[in-house]
């Protein structure tokens, strides 16, 4: 089991001149500490227009800063929205390659397609097309990275032959992932040989079956890249405190804030009936996770909040469900003061991480 940190970069109102600056620099301080403590990855999402919920619209810049300030932690660029109205695929390939070079080959490349009308409508993108454009992007990106020159005639874009530069530092290219929220996307990931970057927060039984399906299908995959990235990651919340009750209370303050912010968003499914969006996306999953019946301690199943013993117990269950990595959200709306976030990270590293010291190496690159 490996552990990472995961950033939406949630910025609470009221927005003063320093608010976004302070939140960004709090995140960077957390990443520096996570690197020192042995966390394996830092992920940053790409979102647009999502007031308070996520101000992470240029994650490649944030991740470059992370890479410059750390030594070992891998930088997860994800998910990058693979919709041409958001990002031209050439620009995605170029930015990723630069980030990989500047980080000395620490890039993990996450792909996805957005699930909100708030974002897709804002860019004038057609929600019916996003599955196809995502598929097209993940097939061309490895070619852009590995071929000396690349030309293409496709559905969402075409281009004459050009040298797409620079090339990534990792050879043949960085590991590729896809965000899994809609039912069946884990199979899409497996069929293409991509890592499954799960965005579920809880519910062991449902996840266990998804992981089984993924592992089975990937055995006969036709990889879009030069190698298969068989890994399953999930996202969770982390608040670790010596006192279980305090840990749960503060953790639930964070999850509740996150849940309420997510509820403001307008999922595609709610306003645009489409086969392309069979679920509401992140929102109902967050809601059900945070609102799911808790154990005797009142904390929902699967959430990594509480004292070290409770968190160890939750992670063991994720491990037995077949998950390779957990990436943690550390805060929402700055609900938890920065010093407490840092202390939670330190306690987790001291008391929890050693229990999951690597038994079987997890592949992190294509070599």
């Amino acid at each position: 089991m490996k552990f990472g940190v995961f950033y939406e970069i949630s910025v609470p109102r009221p927005w003063g001149p320093e608010t976004e600056h302070d939140v960004y620099h709090n995140c960077l301080e957390q990443v520096r500490l996570a690197d020192e403590l042995g966390f394996d990855q830092v992920w940053a999402v790409e979102h647009h227009f999502l007031e308070e919920y996520s101000h992470s619209s240029a994650p490649e810049l944030f991740l470059t800063a992370c890479a410059m300030q750390t030594k070992n932690i891998r930088v997860g660029h994800g998910i990058v929205v693979c919709v041409p109205e958001f990002n031209h695929p050439v620009r995605v390939a170029e930015r990723a390659a630069v980030l990989d070079i500047l980080s000395h080959g620490r890039l993990e490349m996450g792909t996805g397609r957005s699930a909100t009308w708030t974002e897709l409508g804002g860019f004038g993108a057609n929600p019916d097309e996003t599955k196809q454009t995502w598929d097209e992007f993940v097939r061309v990106l490895p070619k852009m990275w590995t071929q000396e020159r690349f030309g293409y005639e496709g559905r969402s874009f075409s281009m004459p032959t050009r040298a797409i530069l620079p090339k990534p530092y990792q050879k043949p290219h960085p590991p590729m992932w896809v965000a899994v929220t809609s039912p069946g996307t884990e199979i899409d990931a497996a069929e293409r040989g991509l890592g499954a970057l799960g965005l579920q927060f809880a519910g062991f039984a449902a996840q266990e079956q998804k992981v089984k399906d993924y592992r089975q299908r990937i055995q006969s995959c036709d990889p879009v890249g030069e190698f298969v990235n068989e890994q399953v990651a999930t996202v969770n919340f982390l608040y670790c405190h010596e006192d279980k009750k305090t840990g749960i209370e503060r953790g639930q303050g964070m999850t509740g804030a996150f849940n309420y912010l997510a509820a403001q968003l307008l999922p595609v499914r709610e306003v645009h009936p489409s086969r392309s969006y069979p679920s509401l996306g992140l929102l109902p999953q967050v809601r059900s996770a945070v609102a799911s019946p808790g154990g005797d301690d009142g904390a929902p199943e699967g959430l990594c909040i509480g004292d070290p013993d409770r968190i160890i117990e939750q992670i063991k269950q994720w491990e037995s469900a077949g998950v390779d990595r957990i990436n943690f959200l550390l805060n929402a709306m700055e609900r938890i003061p920065q010093e407490q976030v840092l202390e939670s990270l330190r306690l987790f590293a001291r008391e929890v991480m050693p229990k999951f010291a690597e038994k079987t190496p997890v592949a992190v690159s294509g070599d």
Binding site: A263, Q264, P273, R275
Partner: protein
Amino acid sequence: MVFSGTLDIARHLDLASSMPSLKTEALEIPNVEMVAAFFEIDDGDMEGLLPPALHPTIPPTVQFFGMKVTEGPLGAFSFAQVRVGCRAGVRPRGYTTLCFCDSAEASTALSERWGFPVQPGEVIVQRNYDRVQLVAEADGRRVLSVELMDPLPINGGDVQYTASVNLAKASHDGDEKPWLVQVDPDYAVRRADRARPTLHLFDAEAWAAEGVIPVYPITGSYTVSDMTLPALRYLMDPAKNAFAGTVSL
């Protein structure tokens, strides 16, 4: 600091229905033709369009619904409804500003049993080969005209309607006052089309929706379904956040 509604419900009380009882039995209506058209609206006063129990989505939306019923326990009727898209806590909902209906029998049932604020009016739901029309008239004056052009068939399972929240006067546990009544019908959709909507006319004042200014079309749909109007399950105190003010019936 998530947005909360700031609407003074006194603005809507005159038009709110009075419900003699909250013990409503479910009612199935077959072969309902339904038009829905969603638009983004100007965000200048998005909190002011909703009572404090609710909060707006980002972006805020207005939702136009039309229904044509040709058979069933309430007889034939046509019905139109305007809602402001919203959240009750974390749940997706639509706050009804006003409805028009061309049948006294249906109006009484929808008003007294499910709390819809209904006024008499003429409603046209018309599906042609190349378009679907929703038109509403009140006092001989057109107050809504929206069209879905070139509708394309989609899977009925892809259509999802969120629950309505209706301001109504009712008594619960001896507490007689205005409540927000949640109505979440079930739809067994047999046919569905989708198209981009075009708004020709919307008289916001006539719909008690002053401040609702549609600015950008999202999507429209047309369905044929068997609809079940449900037994009521939840009420909300309009003045309290839905987390604190929701009552289970």
